[in-house]
């Protein structure tokens, strides 16, 4: 138990330098011109002395750059995410955006993992059979495809031609609602982006699980388990899969950042008002406070997810707890 705690503590301590690096990179990127106010002014057409003064106060202009960094970071840590240049405070919007992103990402993660693991095991158990070839071929097409392109194709087929599902947004702004009520309307909007995201992440999991299962099924302990008369199900899922899945959990944890990376393009394709879509809108219109806030929030989400997956990893692999 003490081993597990110190392991977790080390992982949490590692999150701190990542967070600081991200904050420095974010701050420097948005201050690359030396003067963020000038950068922002490029995106504003009606410039008045008032906007200039407001912007100067917002970015703490007049202080040296390192003081501005610490002022900005301290504002951020106190929950003051600044003022969007076009509408309202960032803090009031970031929660609904995050919720909308998670509404898409978490079901996709659970679905693709839930389908991907049994499918990968199935494929590995029947290596080189017709069904294995079918699964691996589909999977390699899946990882070679831009997620959002599959999204565009889904929109063309299911929204524009068949008219079965809506093509944009997370909810209808006004009636008529899809399938009668507001909850069913939200569901109708979720189906296309969720299916597309699930299908594409599924491909990654199937390939990883299959490769690791092929390795695990050839190990001596599997032979030993079989020889001791355990059922095929027991050998496959309790013995082989338990060892095959640990590296997959590591990879999922470490690559959570790139999993979220599909979000900006996919959310833009479906005009899904989550963090990715709003990031693209804000970066395009140079709404720097929003850009900074979203970058930091996504980083925090990635770090929290990493620590969570480290915990899962430690529970799955006792060696982590001991050393």
């Amino acid at each position: 138990m003490a081993g597990l705690l110190s392991y977790l503590l080390r992982r949490i301590l590692f999150a701190i330098p990542v967070f600081i690096t991200v904050s420095i990179i974010t701050f420097l990127a948005t201050n690359a011109s030396g003067n963020p106010v000038e950068l922002v002014l490029l995106g504003i057409h009606n410039r008045t002395p008032e906007t200039l003064a407001a912007l100067n106060a917002e970015f703490h202009m007049g202080e040296p750059i390192y003081t501005r960094y610490f002022l900005w970071l301290s504002d951020f840590m106190h929950g003051n995410l600044g003022q969007s240049l076009y509408s309202g405070t960032v803090a009031s919007k970031i929660l609904p955006w995050t919720a909308t992103t998670l509404e898409l990402q978490i079901p996709a993660l659970l679905l693709s993992f839930g389908i991907g693991v049994p499918l990968g095991v199935f494929s590995a158990k029947r290596q080189y059979s017709k069904s294995d070839v079918a699964v691996t071929t589909t999977a390699i097409f899946g990882i070679s495809m831009p997620t959002f392109w599959l999204g565009i194709m889904a929109i063309i087929i299911f929204s524009l031609n068949l008219h079965w599902l809506p093509s944009f947004g997370a909810i209808s702004a006004f009636p008529p609602y899809w399938w009668g009520s507001i909850p069913s309307d939200a569901l109708a909007h979720l189906i296309l982006p969720l299916s597309v995201l699930t299908l594409v992440s599924l491909a990654t999991y199937v390939r990883l699980i299959r490769a690791n299962m092929l390795d695990a099924l050839r190990q001596d302990y599997v032979l030993g388990a079989r020889a001791s008369g355990l059922s095929d199900f027991n050998v496959t899922y309790k013995h082989a899969l338990k060892n095959a899945i640990t590296p997959v959990v590591t990879i999922v944890g470490l690559s959570f950042g790139s999993l979220l990376a599909g979000a900006p393009a996919l959310e833009t394709t479906f005009s899904w008002p989550g963090l990715g879509y709003e990031f693209v809108v804000a970066a395009t219109s140079l709404d720097l406070p929003v850009v900074q806030a979203i970058t930091m929030i996504i980083t925090i989400m990635v770090l929290v997810a990493n620590i969570g997956l480290d915990l899962v990893y430690a529970l799955l692999d006792p060696r982590v707890r001991i050393s």
């Binding site: 690359a32 990882i143 495809m145 524009l160 470490l254 950042g257 790139s258 979220l260």
Partner: protein, 306 residues
């Protein structure tokens, strides 16, 4: 008789003749999906060269706007086999010109990432102590970062401020600078394995300098995993480039597949072909590099060698 079987001199000689690359190629040739991948990559390389040097139609030509052949569906006019956009741009021509842009980004960014990754990984693996730990920490940080967000941020700020004329080279540099961490991990692991081998000890006892041992003796022996990962990294970089251009964060005057997809989404209600065919080009190019990587991984893996 017995001795000849035990010491087959001629065979030892012929094995030296067939070096590790010849053996790898012989194994690769038998891998049909790997060969298919090589063929796909070759096809797009030919397309890119044709587009750069031989194609009479320039990139992003709006000629059809004046000739009345804009918004043509595919397979109706053989001068424009895959149709045209509302703006008059020919989809097939843009696929040709886009392959040069996307291969440049995919391969160029991978080259930068390999150079950085090998350097950081080699030093982190060979030097223990503070320097090694520090480099490992930096690698872990870059591995954990939500990289695409930063790539988009830098692409946006970069195109705006520093590099308006640089076009795709800016994207190459950004993708390379953010993409090396995976390679550094692999190189570091390989070096931990190799530096304990006898021939490294031997060259150390002969008095070779540290950098000579590292870059002449250890890094060349860590090449096979680097080669495999590079192929997969090119595939990943092309997909990222497509996202960057699709979101409008790249140079809007450079021809890339992502840019056509962006226009395809605009015209999605009227012209499905504008997004459909460039998407196929992306899939087959990326698939080619993925299959090539898988094939190389089988061919270069000594554990699978007969």
């Amino acid at each position: 008789m017995q001795e000849e079987v035990l010491l087959p001199k001629h065979e030892a000689g012929s094995q030296r003749g067939a070096g590790q690359w010849a053996v790898a190629w012989r194994r690769f040739k038998r891998n049909r999906s790997g060969l298919a991948g090589l063929a796909m990559v070759g096809f797009f390389a030919v397309l890119a060269i044709y587009g750069l040097f031989l194609d009479p139609v320039p990139a992003r030509s709006f000629a059809c706007l004046y000739q009345g052949c804009s918004n043509l569906p595919p397979f109706t006019n053989w001068a424009h086999p895959l149709g045209t956009e509302t703006s008059g741009i020919d989809v097939w021509q843009e696929i040709i010109h886009g392959s040069a842009g996307d291969l440049y980004v995919g391969i160029g960014a991978t080259a930068i990432a390999i150079a950085l990754g090998v350097l950081v990984g080699a030093v982190a693996g060979y030097r223990g102590g503070v320097a090694g730990a520090l480099l490992l920490g930096v690698t872990q940080i870059f591995f954990t970062l939500p990289v695409l967000i930063f790539i988009l941020l830098f692409a946006r700020i970069g195109t705006l401020l520093v590099a308006q004329g640089l076009g795709l080279t800016l994207i190459v540099a950004i993708l390379g600078l953010f993409g090396w961490s995976g390679i550094a991990f692999i190189v570091r692991g390989e070096i931990f394995r190799i530096r304990e081998l006898e021939y490294v000890q031997a060259s150390k006892s002969l008095g070779a300098s540290q950098s000579r041992i590292l870059f002449r003796h250890i890094v060349p022996n860590a090449l096979s995993p680097i080669i495999v990962v590079s192929s997969l990294l090119v595939a990943g970089n092309i997909l990222t480039e497509v996202v960057i251009s699709f979101l409008g964060f790249s140079d809007p005057s450079a021809s890339t597949w992502g840019l056509i997809l962006e226009e395809g989404l605009q015209y999605v209600r009227t012209s499905w072909w504008v997004s459909f065919f460039p998407g196929l080009a992306i899939i087959f190019c990326v698939l080619g590099f993925n299959l090539l990587g898988d094939g190389l991984s089988d061919a270069l893996n000594p554990r699978l060698r007969e």
